[in-house]
């Protein structure tokens, strides 16, 4: 009896910080944002409830175009991150020797020790018209005049991949690590080519890691702010920038909240769609033990 109480107490004590965190920092602010987004502004200090902010969003092509553009570029970044991250993860988990594994993992982590802002400035120094790459290409004689590599969508995609690829690698390594090498050997023994073994054994086994990595990178990319702003050019629009503009430069908290809610709903929808299309679900991937 006494022991039971003690277990209960320790459970409560252990859960308290987590529950406080979720309720105070996630759920309450979301409710506040949802409440604000339903408030229509009629004049100074004069509000009524309604869906006008959402209607405004649908009627203004600039807004939903930006949202679609953000989603499409985020999906692109996610797919490219998978292509970049998979070989690295496979090498670390399966090919590298046990001893060098930790060192390789550390190498992947190092960029994360520097803040986002500094990394973005690093790209700027490299890619700008008077930057290092342009200068090097000129001195080698590959190009005539200076070339501008900054301020376009390709740069934004590269910068974003660089920022998020680690979050693809980590779950992949941990799933691939658990794969028994005898599975691969059996595949080869049964006459499978490298490609068949990869397609029929490695990918299905790594699927939980792939899905988890894709969800994390997609969410991080769609919600990122600094990289698209700093590397993007005069035509680049990112949805988080719209949210910032509504809140800060236009004092329009109602529209900003609406955009926030829409971003959350839309990205959740994309994740759900992705799970459906690949025939996975959250329980079998992210929450798999």
């Amino acid at each position: 009896m006494l022991r039971n109480d003690a277990t209960k107490l320790s459970l409560i004590l252990l859960m308290t910080p987590f529950i406080l965190w979720i309720v105070l920092l996630i759920i309450l602010p979301q409710l506040g944002i949802g409440y604000l987004s339903l408030r229509e502004k009629l004049g100074p200090n004069d509000y009524k409830f309604g869906f006008a902010n959402y209607v405004d969003f649908l009627q203004e092509p600039i807004y939903w175009n930006t949202l679609l553009r953000t989603a499409w570029m985020s999906i692109l970044v996610t797919i490219l991150s998978l292509f970049v991250g998979f070989p690295i993860a496979y090498y670390i988990a399966k090919i590298a020797r046990r001893r060098s594994r930790a060192a390789l993992f550390l190498l992947c982590l190092i960029p994360l020790w520097v803040s986002d802002l500094v990394r973005a400035f690093g790209w700027i120094v490299l890619l700008r018209e008077t930057g290092i790459i342009s200068g090097a290409l000129q001195s080698v004689g590959l190009i005539e005049g200076p070339v501008e590599l900054l301020y376009n969508d390709v740069t934004v995609v590269i910068g974003l991949i660089y920022t998020v690829v680690l979050f693809m690698i980590v779950p992949l390594v941990s799933t691939l690590d658990g794969m028994d090498n005898s599975l691969l050997e059996a595949g080869y023994n049964l006459g499978g080519s490298r490609f068949t073994v990869f397609r029929m054994i490695v990918v299905p086994y790594a699927m939980p890691g792939i899905v988890a990595g894709c969800i994390i990178t997609f969410m991080l990319t769609a919600g990122s702010y600094l990289t698209p702003i700093l590397l993007g050019g005069k035509n680049s629009m990112w949805f988080t920038e719209q949210i910032y503009d509504q809140f800060i430069t236009r004092y329009n908290w109602e529209a900003g909240s609406t955009f926030g809610v829409l971003l959350l709903v839309f990205t959740s929808f994309v994740v759900w769609l992705g799970l459906r299309l690949t025939g996975q679900n959250l329980a079998s991937t992210v929450a798999k033990d």
Binding site: I62, T66, E129, I229, K234, N235, I248, T249, Y251
Partner: protein
Amino acid sequence: MNKMKLLATVSALVAITGTASQAETLRLLTWGGYAPDEVVRLFEEKYPDIDVEVTFSNNEEMIAKLRATRGAGFDLAQPSHDRIYAAQLEYGIYKPLDLSQIDTSVMQDGLLKSVKDNTTIDGEVYAVPHQWGTSGLMADITKAPDINSWDDLCDPEYKGRTSMRLRRTILLGMAFSMGKDPFAAYGDLAEYQKIMDEVTEKLIACKGNIKTYWSGGDDLSNLMLSGEVVASETWDSTAYKLYGEDANIVFVPPETGALAWIDTFAIPAKGEADDAAYKWINFVLQPEIVTMMSASTGALASVKGSIDLLPDDKKAAVKAAFDDAAIENLKFFVNIPAGIEDIEGKSLERIKAASQ
């Protein structure tokens, strides 16, 4: 023994909290460069019981921060003079100033009157001037000698070599260069919308000419100093700083007049250290502090004879940029009525989203 220890700890704690409540904190919400370390140090030396905490920001963020807390969290803010009236009416984030606490006699009469006129609500004054400056053009005269109007930034001769900040300043500037007077249309939203539509069209057509939109002073400085951009819309203070590094880079007041802003002192509605705030205001208006402040901000103080109080390099830069006619021609920003920023915001979005 243990009891003694406890007693000692408690009394030490009491002593700490005791002194902490005596020292006052002045929480300053201001622009980058408006509270140089040297000035803060001198102030704290003169008033040892006041600690100064500085937060750097800009107009929009200042209002957003104060709005979020209904005017709490800071004891002195420095928004521009056109950002006080509407924000106060709508959000009530400032409190009226006690002018008897401020030595207004050192301020230039014109600037003081202009700020008072713009920030008086129900007979109460909400702000006094601190620094003022202008927005205009900046050009490298060896590469772009003919820049003298806002729309020269769209001149195909400088294709891919010009820049601007995609904010309301360029909308207003471009409107003036098209022969309109946007300030006169502030009262008539339909008319203002018409002007902004034309300006938007012009700026979208101009987009191909622009290398990129700059977002902050450092960004712009890099673009100009590296030579990637030869002409840009700018704050005069940024141009003066660059003039110190490269005398070919000068500030050019546009022929339709540079747009002038005044950064003010305003006390947030729930400020907790009004006395310290008034002390700071009077302190930074002293001549020797003005020189240090201008060296850091690059802008002119609103005190009498402020040009003579500039550090020498800035004095040369101002003299190279402005003659008396250009100063006569200044266009001061006027209070922004409700609805204007919505129209401008939409225009800016359309420009940013258009592809060229």
